[in-house]
Subunit: 262 residues, 2 copies
């Protein structure tokens, strides 16, 4: 199974891309809703949670791990790769690859949670492609609660987006990485406020394309993956709101199951 | 020691009132910042966390427990009182008492997190004072992240406050309970948007007044409480942001210590 974890429900944007681009494989999802969000927590705590999340997915039969959370990818993916002997994918490297490919003026914007921006990982990875690249980052901590409030098209969200994106807008970037799994839900507003000429990069999509390439190159792993639609969705806490958002995002009713983390 | 716990740093508004109204007693604070916030989680999970938080404070020597979090007060205080054999104070009953006393037209507004409003506890407790009371509630989930972003005087916060308070404003209430420990930080904006004639009730202040009365009535407990300023502040996660906010709210530099919860 393809195991996917996130700090909460944001990682369902990755599941949506898996359903679209790799529809034949069974998905095992874990969202740590009892401790969500990760983006406002320390690196040490995020790392501990990411290890526990990975162990849970492996116990439940995951053969591949996808860290669907930008914050956990930024802080914990390297350590997870050292610690666990399975293929581990994170959402940052594929997004960097895409941004570097599409940027013509070598000025790339990055938006994300406080923890992701603070980690500086996008800067580091983009600069590995040459010192000519300039990266302009901006934490947008209110975007996650706005999405979870479902204020996706509200005027208040537009005002906040305008405020957050102001400094990026005047910085001559030509591409912008949506460095948090929730942000693709605000794609329309972000595109309007940052300007139509800026290319938005969605890590969820790029990550699933990377997994697709990996499976094509590794038939010995690909053939062991179960190929049916019995997807499983686990959360460490259940509320009616999560069920609503999950159904709406994935466009169908899914069954969420509770799993205790402690 | 007076033990105080909260889902994060919001409970420092209660500590501030303790410092103001009961300055002689030693305070032991625990903020569950590794799992913050509680307001978007299920009752079952909030109850489990509240029991763990109380056990931690008791292990560290608390003789009195103050549940400084409205969400935990709403969901868990009754169970904590059954389970633990120490005086336990929550922030809801004192706020209800005050609101019932100040309301002249018997129409009381309540704002809080999704979990607090959903619990219906303010309605139930206010209605115990007579069926003449009408309660109009409104969850304001973005207020907590706005305060933690320190967007306390920003135009975006004013717009959101206006939106949230619209239905309350036209509902002829004459008093409004700030049913979340973060909300007193937005008192000015809330007062402007709801209208100057509405009396705001701050549960932190009312709770500390209740504790003061209790100690005056129970000298046998009062005399056992250590009376010096060696306050202790524990958090389950540490970030520089928490330190900033804590210093700013309490108006002095405090030492935050990490304690692991699992």
């Amino acid at each position: 199974m393809i195991g996917v974890f996130d700090s909460g429900i944001g990682g369902l944007t990755v599941v949506k891309e898996l359903f679209r681009l790799l529809p034949e494989y069974r998905v095992l999802y874990f969202g740590d809703t009892a401790r969500t969000p990760y983006g406002n927590k320390s690196e040490k705590t995020i790392l501990r949670y990411a290890i526990q999340d990975t162990e849970l997915l492996l116990e439940k039969g995951a053969q591949i791990i996808v860290v669907a959370c930008n914050t956990a990818s930024a802080v914990a993916a390297e350590e997870l790769k050292r610690k666990f002997n399975v293929p581990i994918f994170e959402v940052i490297t594929p997004a960097v690859k895409k941004a570097v490919a599409v940027s013509k003026n070598h000025r790339i914007g990055v938006i994300g949670t406080a923890a992701t921006v603070k980690s500086g990982i996008y800067e580091r990875l983009i600069k590995q492609n040459g010192r000519k690249f300039a990266i302009i980052s901006k934490p947008c901590p209110l975007f996650v609660p706005l999405v979870e409030e479902n204020w996706i098209k509200r005027p208040e969200t537009k005002t906040i987006a305008k405020k957050y994106l102001q400094s990026l807008k005047i910085s001559s970037i030509d591409s912008l990485i949506l460095g948090c799994t929730h942000y693709p839900l605000l794609k329309e507003i972000i595109q309007v406020k940052i300007g139509r000429r800026i290319k938005l990069v969605d890590p969820a999509q790029e990550t699933v394309l990377t997994i697709k390439e990996f499976l094509a190159a590794h038939p010995e792993i690909e053939k062991t993956l179960p190929k049916n639609q019995s997807h499983q969705f686990y959360l460490s806490d259940l509320t009616p709101k999560f069920q609503d958002i999950a159904n709406r995002w994935l466009g169908k009713k899914i069954k969420l199951q509770l799993v205790e983390m402690e």
